[in-house]
């Protein structure tokens, strides 16, 4: 098993790598807040082992259906499995960490 803190390990193969997807609807304050909160938290707790994908449903409405999204912002933890979804602008850090099952550093 590779060193989880090795910055050169390949992302896709790393079981410790976090793949997060944030669904938002346009550039609303909620969207911007959510992104800022997520970014901050990831830096704090998942530094170097996360990847964030932003999907704007206004631009890609069909993705709302394929990914089963109702509320925005919705954050989906795609990796590690299992898939988890949390909603809201992620301002309540404690709940975000619980929802994502991140153990605070």
């Amino acid at each position: 098993m590779s060193d989880p803190f090795d910055p050169d390990r390949p992302i896709a193969d790393d079981p410790e790598m976090w793949h997060l997807r944030l669904y938002v609807a346009g550039q609303s304050p909620k969207s911007l807040n959510a992104f800022a909160n997520l970014k901050r938290m990831c830096e704090e707790h998942l530094s170097g082992r996360y990847e964030i994908e932003i999907i704007d449903l206004v631009e890609h409405p069909s993705l709302a259906r394929s990914d089963d999204i109702l509320a925005v912002p919705t954050l989906v933890r795609r990796l590690p499995a299992p898939l988890r979804k949390i909603i809201g602008d992620l301002s309540n850090t404690e709940r975000v960490l619980v929802g994502l099952r991140i153990n605070p550093v």
């Binding site: 609807a25 449903l57 259906r65 509320a71 602008d89």
Partner: protein, 597 residues
């Protein structure tokens, strides 16, 4: 808005929809529903359809969409929170709705929103823009005019922050209205509330409550329009069915009293009964109730009624709820009514079923279907009282009202029989539905019981008030006069005895008359004899008088001569002058008479 081509109900009147300032409506195409709502659901608004699990709300909503596409060219979106698209497609396939084809044709989107697998953690401010965008995409995809959201309350299980959820739902309904789609939102019934989470608060234009009640092992689905802002609507609970062609609302008043009437008469099959009904029988399209105690010949009367119709070459439909076709044919053959020939000739059709086989509404639906198929001139329901086993009096009478309306609208003459020990009381409710009410009952006495029949009511005709004895003979039904004497109405052997007595009395009277005639003849002879004798006497007398008359003139001369003679003899006593005067008179008298001879 198009008329309603998929059902045989009258088309929705355009007047209702074109009232200035009135509410525009979107016809659902659901059989009967557009009638009770005067045109359908409020156009471009949301309607809440709520009720307990299994009440048929999903099906109602789906039919609204499917008929919108197939009948009114209005594409639709079905947002399913509970069932997957595959389940929905399978569930409604039995109703003949091919959702896959509608989807392939680009008229339908089924969007299954799976909230069950979610582990939602609320981490701050959120809204339902995802759902809005999703819905908007689906609406745009097919150009939808109709949207169904089934069942949106599932969201309350997914989102813990109900304050936000409620405000978002409010926004959703406002948004749907602004999008110009006619929507149906379903909701599950809650404890003491219409829906579990009170979403009726947000959907305020139209609320429809569905129910599914089981009484006496028979379930009846009911529909009620609780609220319809800006529109007239029926306020009753309307029974409805889910049949192989979808939802069918059966409004009590759907036919109204608009059916035409006929003055044409048709025979009951019993000539004497026709005579009792003002001479011509029943009005075509009227309804007859034959009430009676057991074994009074109600079915026989019904069979003879069918027989008469078939003899006229008309079709008859016989709904039997107690006996099988074979039993009825055999039993009627025993009284000389050959129904077999009409069945063979395809003029008479039996539909035999136990009432408990189906619910009231399903029976009604099935019967109407058969009537529509066969298009009979006469229909028999024997007996309608059996329905009381599967529903209470009011339900049965409501169902029969609809049946009567249905039959009248088709100008079908119907005969219902009703069996009860106290027909007068039991059938009061039914009596108000029918045009003619005939009673058959048995009178007991002299160690036997005999059937009698009378017409209690018959609208629009001068019917007889007489009680007739109802006889089942080898040639069908015959009606005989009854005798009313000091001991009451006489029937059966007492009537026969009375008839015999009257016959013998008649004979006696006849003999008496003959005697009188003879006596009279004798009297005439005697009178004639007496008259002859009197005439003879008269003639004798007349002869005498004639003789006297013929000798009368000489007599006078004699008397004058005698007086002259006496005068001469008495000359000594009278003076000459007088004597001379006498003589002159006499001579003059004589002279006067002489020339006349």
């Amino acid at each position: 808005m198009a008329a309603n081509p998929g059902t045989d109900l009258p088309p929705v009147s355009d007047d209702v929809q074109s009232i200035p300032g009135g509410l525009a409506k979107a016809a659902t195409g659901i059989s009967g529903f557009d009638e009770v709502t005067n045109g359908g659901l409020p156009r471009d608004r949301s309607t809440l359809v709520c009720g307990p699990a299994g009440c048929g709300k999903t099906l109602f909503a789906m039919e609204f969409l499917v008929r919108g596409i197939t009948q009114f060219d209005e594409p639709g979106v079905f947002v399913a929170f509970e069932e997957s698209a595959e389940d929905l497609i399978a569930n409604v396939a039995s109703l003949g709705f091919d959702l896959e084809q509608l989807e392939a044709e680009g008229n339908l989107v089924i969007d299954h929103v799976d909230v069950a697998g979610w582990e939602v953690e609320d981490t701050g401010d959120w809204d339902l823009d995802g759902l809005f965008l999703r819905l908007a995409a689906a609406i745009d995809q097919v150009g939808a005019r109709r949207v169904v959201i089934d069942t949106i309350e599932t969201l309350f299980g997914a989102f813990s922050n109900t304050t936000v959820l409620r405000s978002e739902l409010r926004r959703l309904f406002g948004w749907l209205k602004a999008r110009g789609v006619t929507s149906v939102i379903t909701g599950e019934r809650g404890e003491g509330t219409l829906t579990r989470h009170g979403i009726e608060e947000y959907v305020s234009d139209c609320v429809i409550v569905l129910d599914h009640r089981v009484t006496e092992q028979t379930s009846t689905r009911r529909l009620r329009i609780l609220k319809y802002r800006g529109s007239l609507h029926g306020t009753n609970e309307y029974p409805f069915l889910i049949s192989e062609t979808g939802v069918s609302v059966l409004p009590i008043t759907s036919m109204g009293l608009r059916h035409g009437v006929s003055t044409e008469r048709i025979s009951t099959g019993v000539a004497r009964l026709d005579a009792m009904l003002g001479g011509g029988g029943l009005y075509k399209g009227s309804t007859v109730l034959v009430s009676g105690t057991p074994g009074t010949g109600k079915s026989t009367l019904a069979a003879q009624f069918c027989d008469a119709a078939c003899r006229r070459g008309e079709r008859a439909l016989y709904f039997a709820f107690e006996e099988s076709e074979a039993e009825t044919i055999r039993n009627m053959a025993s009284v000389g009514i050959d129904l077999r020939q009409w069945v063979d000739a395809d003029l008479l059709r039996f539909q035999c079923s136990r009432p408990s086989l189906l619910g009231l509404e399903a029976h009604l639906f099935a019967m109407q279907k058969f009537v529509a198929e066969l298009d009979p001139a006469v229909v028999v329901m024997d007996p309608v009282s059996d329905f009381l086993r599967i529903g209470n009096g009011e339900d049965v009478s409501a169902m029969l009202t609809r049946q009567v309306d249905f039959l009248k609208a088709r100008q079908v003459t119907a005969l219902f029989t009703s069996l009860s020990s106290e027909p007068e009381a039991a059938d009061q409710q039914l009596a108000s539905l029918v045009d003619t009410w005939i009673f058959v009952k048995t009178l007991e006495g002299n160690g036997e019981h005999n059937r009698v029949l009378y017409v209690l009511e018959s609208r629009g005709m001068a019917h007889s008030n007489q009680i007739r004895e109802f006889l089942l003979t080898g040639q069908g039904i015959e009606l005989a006069d009854v005798y009313v004497g000091p001991e009451g109405v006489l029937t059966g052997s007492a009537r026969q005895a009375q008839e015999a007595k009257e016959r013998s009395d008649g004979m006696a009277r006849l003999e008496d008359l003959e005697q009188r005639r003879v006596n009279l003849e004798r009297r005439r002879e005697s009178v004639e004899a007496q008259t002859a004798a009197l005439w003879r006497e008269f003639h004798d007398e007349a002869e005498v008088v004639e003789q006297l008359l013929s000798t009368g003139s000489t007599g006078t001369e004699d008397r004058a001569g005698q007086r002259a003679e006496q005068g001469r003899l008495r000359r000594a006593d009278i003076d000459d002058r007088d004597a001379g005067a006498d003589q002159v008179d006499l001579s003059e008298e004589r002279d006067a008479e002489v020339p006349s001879r």
